[in-house]
Symmetry: C2
Subunit: 553 residues, 2 copies
């Protein structure tokens, strides 16, 4: 009975940035340059937005959708909805119309805030969205004519919020109240919703701001490239609102040259995104090595899939920039593990090659979570860095069921079955071998597609590699590699196979290298192996008959 | 219903250090050098201690006392008691026998772990401690003969824990379950207990490890000089157990030269203590400027009272060491605000003199707390850096009542009335105007002026006594007593000092007794201490130079 029982509400954290850093800027990229507003203004506008939403009948627990890029208005929507107790349903701009209609209806979104350039998508969908009462259109610099939209009950964002009070008192909610909703389309069937809660995001926000996590500080300039519609933008918008650090938001302007310009001109110190972003920036930097001043940039948080070690090394050796590898998923709010170069041994106590080896792993578990690797009998495997099993995780920001769609087969007791397989080494670093459905099962042995891809991508001139299983009459499955080469690059299959043979056993090497111009991507920017496999099947692909029993066994 | 409801228990955090940093050391100073053990060993011994405590009948919620310096065994006691659900009552080694007996009885401690050099104090007390069933004696390097102690049912710590399992499963507790108890003697009357809880300490542990807080990391080497019996050692033992950073613990060897030797030889990067510690180290460094290699030392967290700005500047300009000023109190678990040099503007964006000015303030509020300055009508004062009022604070790690002694007058609605007065400036920095009108703070410890006055007035012939603080170059403040004798009464200073010594520790006794004819009064008939202090200052009063380090420490 000694301590106060204050609920863990996001409204207790997100007002702090505007209080301690009122003049710090939130910068949003536009078609012609940048747009700037302070934290003080952002907070005032968030309170106005909340007033407008309440006036439109939105109450505690109601879902509001955002169909938006990363922008100051999206930050305002985060701030307002969390403060007032609404549930922010962030809509992935890359979803198919079918999936979009499904998730908006499944969530019963009452209102959608939409960026002007995305209005046409909503216009084609709106007849299939009976729950949506109105659309709030965020106008930018594109001279969007709001009177011309067919969206029902449309109103400009600025008109919607105008005149409402700039300071209000947020309600006291239950700390388990929902605050966000994000659908994951990573597996078969309909997208499944993950409902985020105040308490879970509160703990997640503190945890990602630890020094041994991303070490986000008020003195950082943060450029969140990971979309705010992906797993709450990895929690970075919340942490920035708590700390009051400068934010730089790229909106839809995601070309490598534009991103590098923003990073250089705004003095970004920390950015976050998927590996393909950093591969794109690397290619641009190699093409124009002297164009961008990256002297303030210190660290790039990288998640979504594993970054190739060769890229981690390139950023460190070329610019002294640390790639912080993270592992998590929508169901984990999303952060589970992070690999910090210094997290175990400090900068000067471990040989650089060992540090790179650690940076190439998924990392150490965040405080407060439990994680282990299990065999098919749900028994824990030893932490020897060798035995591969299903990764289970539990803790206060781990999903326990899907939104109105429990999916009990995705859970074991109170553990989330992540769908990733991997191992934990003797230093407690998690190493992801693969998505369980992407592993190649050859002659009863598992082959990690991720390991092969990282190995092939480390060949100079290779831009991307995607390894998938193909059915084989004798070995069940055999790996095939799809490879994208850089412009004007010529590399033969033999070179790639020879390179793989330096690291892998014969039976682990792909049976064929297929050179392609691009790899299909999922809506979250990952390689879409399901589509790759389906395309191969549709094309009548047959594995070459090159493997003898000795080769593969 | 989306997220798991894992309780926020310290057992979820404190096992992490031994998991991710099993070989990292906890170093304890001894009479002859240092003693070392790893986190893995510390965890194993903590589980053994818990087994022994359970075997001795200690259950969930039972209080166990520690009468110990900072040492690896004290860390084990933190770890074991939090894990098993016992309540660790840390006993201040500097309390008077009367206060010690009072708090041990008030807490009903069932068992006390005591360092060998402190056994004589417990021996004199034990007849007044009916609740204590047994004493566990931690032997060090002093050849302590356990068979010679008069303590009932005494056992050596090593014998107590021997043979119990090194790995056990911690129970699932309610997250509001108590885990610690610390008495504060900061105000009048008997000491009052603050009961710490799992959830509160869990949140506090995360918060002090934020980059914008103390930025504690696994790569740090932490030397916690602040006693572990002061407000959970400011939470540092918990944070270190969570992160797995190297710890250096000074035990009772607190001489400046010895501390500097430890810091230099062990490569300490972060230390924490009261201003008098840093003043002592400064004097030693000035006397022997080339003796100690402080190249790894980066930051000194300083709390308990405000460090002089000249000292902050001296450390920065001489060694590049940052003094992080903090403000808090036992009732606040204890951290409320921290002033980081970089917290608002970064290293290179603000002139150094402005940064020093900020470093001289109590700092910015920690995320998750609310704090404001109120006038006597409980109205909030503007944040103008000028208007001074009572500081109130609330939030998830703020005390809401005292242990079995609610003291409702110390609270206003759900706010803790801190007893400190101050102002908040336009940049949201808290500035403490007066630690408290009446309390004397000597060497980081509170001395109650009212308790001394009541004691002196109890001498026959004394009419009135007024104890006020006077500034002291080494101990910050020392008490001086103004005494009014009855007509024709003759009492010497020696008599009064001897009388005080019956109840108070040496360091609590006034440095000088000034005989006066009257004490100025306020309009409400109370002694006007502000005027007393002002009169002393106007008269050019200087404290007698009578205190040696041994007398006051």
């Amino acid at each position: 009975m000694g301590m106060q029982r204050s609920p863990l509400l996001m409204s207790r954290l997100i007002e702090r940035g505007a209080t301690v850093s009122p003049q710090t800027e939130i910068v949003t990229a536009t078609a012609t340059g940048t747009r700037r507003q302070t934290y003080a203004e952002t907070s005032e506008r968030a309170h106005q937005l909340a007033g407008a939403l309440r006036d439109a009948g939105i109450g505690i627990g109601d879902r509001i959708g955002t169909f938006m890029w990363n922008s100051s208005q999206h930050v305002e929507a985060y701030h307002a909805s969390a403060g007032m107790g609404a549930v922010l349903h962030t809509l992935n701009t890359r979803l198919s119309p079918t999936d979009l209609a499904y998730i908006i209806n499944h969530a019963a979104d009452r209102l959608i805030i939409v960026d002007e350039d995305l209005v046409p998508i909503m216009e084609t969908l709106q007849s299939r969205l009976p729950s949506v009462e109105r659309f709030i259109i965020v106008q930018g610099t594109d001279d969007f004519d709001i009177s011309a939209t067919s969206l029902a009950n449309a109103i400009a964002y600025e008109d919607f919020i105008a005149g409402f009070p700039t300071h209000t008192t947020w309600p006291e909610l239950d700390e388990y109240a929902p605050l966000g909703l994000c659908y994951t389309s990573g597996t078969t069937g309909n997208p499944k919703g993950v409902e985020y809660e105040h308490r879970a995001q509160y703990l997640h926000t503190l945890t990602i701001s630890l020094t041994d996590s991303m070490s986000l500080s008020a003195t950082d300039t943060l450029c969140g490239i990971v979309p705010m519609f992906h797993a709450m933008g990895w929690g970075l918008p919340w942490a920035a609102l708590m700390l009051g650090c400068k934010q730089v938001l790229p909106h839809r302007f995601m070309q490598p040259g534009r991103l590098l310009q923003l990073i250089a001109e705004e003095g970004v110190t920390l950015s976050a995104g998927v590996p393909t972003i950093w591969q794109g920036l690397k290619a641009e930097l190699e093409a124009q090595p002297d164009k961008f001043d990256l002297s303030r940039l210190q660290r790039l948080t990288c998640g979504g899939s594993a970054p190739p070690l060769s890229m981690i090394q390139w950023y460190w050796e070329t610019y002294g920039i640390e790639i912080i590898q993270g592992w998590g998923m929508t169901e984990m709010s999303p952060l589970g593990t992070l690999s910090r170069r210094h997290a175990k041994y400090g900068d000067d106590r471990l040989p650089m090659e060992d540090r790179f080896a650690d940076m190439g792993k998924a990392g150490l578990l965040m405080p407060g979570l439990e994680l282990d690797v299990f065999n098919e009998n749900n028994e824990r495997l030893p932490h020897d860095g060798e035995q591969i099993g299903e990764i289970y995780v539990r803790g206060p920001w781990i999903c326990k069921e899907y939104f109105h769609d429990p999916q009990p087969d995705k859970f074991f007791e109170d553990w989330l079955i992540t769908g990733d397989v991997g191992t934990i080494d003797e230093n407690e670093y998690l190493i992801i071998a693969d998505r369980s459905k992407d592993l190649v099962k050859s002659g009863g042995e598992w082959i990690s597609s991720v390991d092969l891809e990282n190995n092939i991508v480390s060949i100079e001139g290779v831009q991307q590699a995607c390894v998938v299983a193909q059915p084989h009459p004798k070995w069940d499955e055999r790996p095939v590699a799809l490879v994208v080469l850089g412009p004007d690059v010529e590399i033969s299959s033999e070179v790639i196979v020879t390179h793989c043979a330096e690291k892998f056993a014969k039976w682990q090497i792909p049976d064929e290298i297929l050179f392609v111009s691009e790899i299909p991507q999922t809506s979250t920017g990952k390689m879409d192996k399901k589509t790759v496999r389906a395309n191969l099947q549709a094309s009548g692909y047959v594995l070459p008959d090159l493997r003898t029993a000795e080769d593969v066994a």
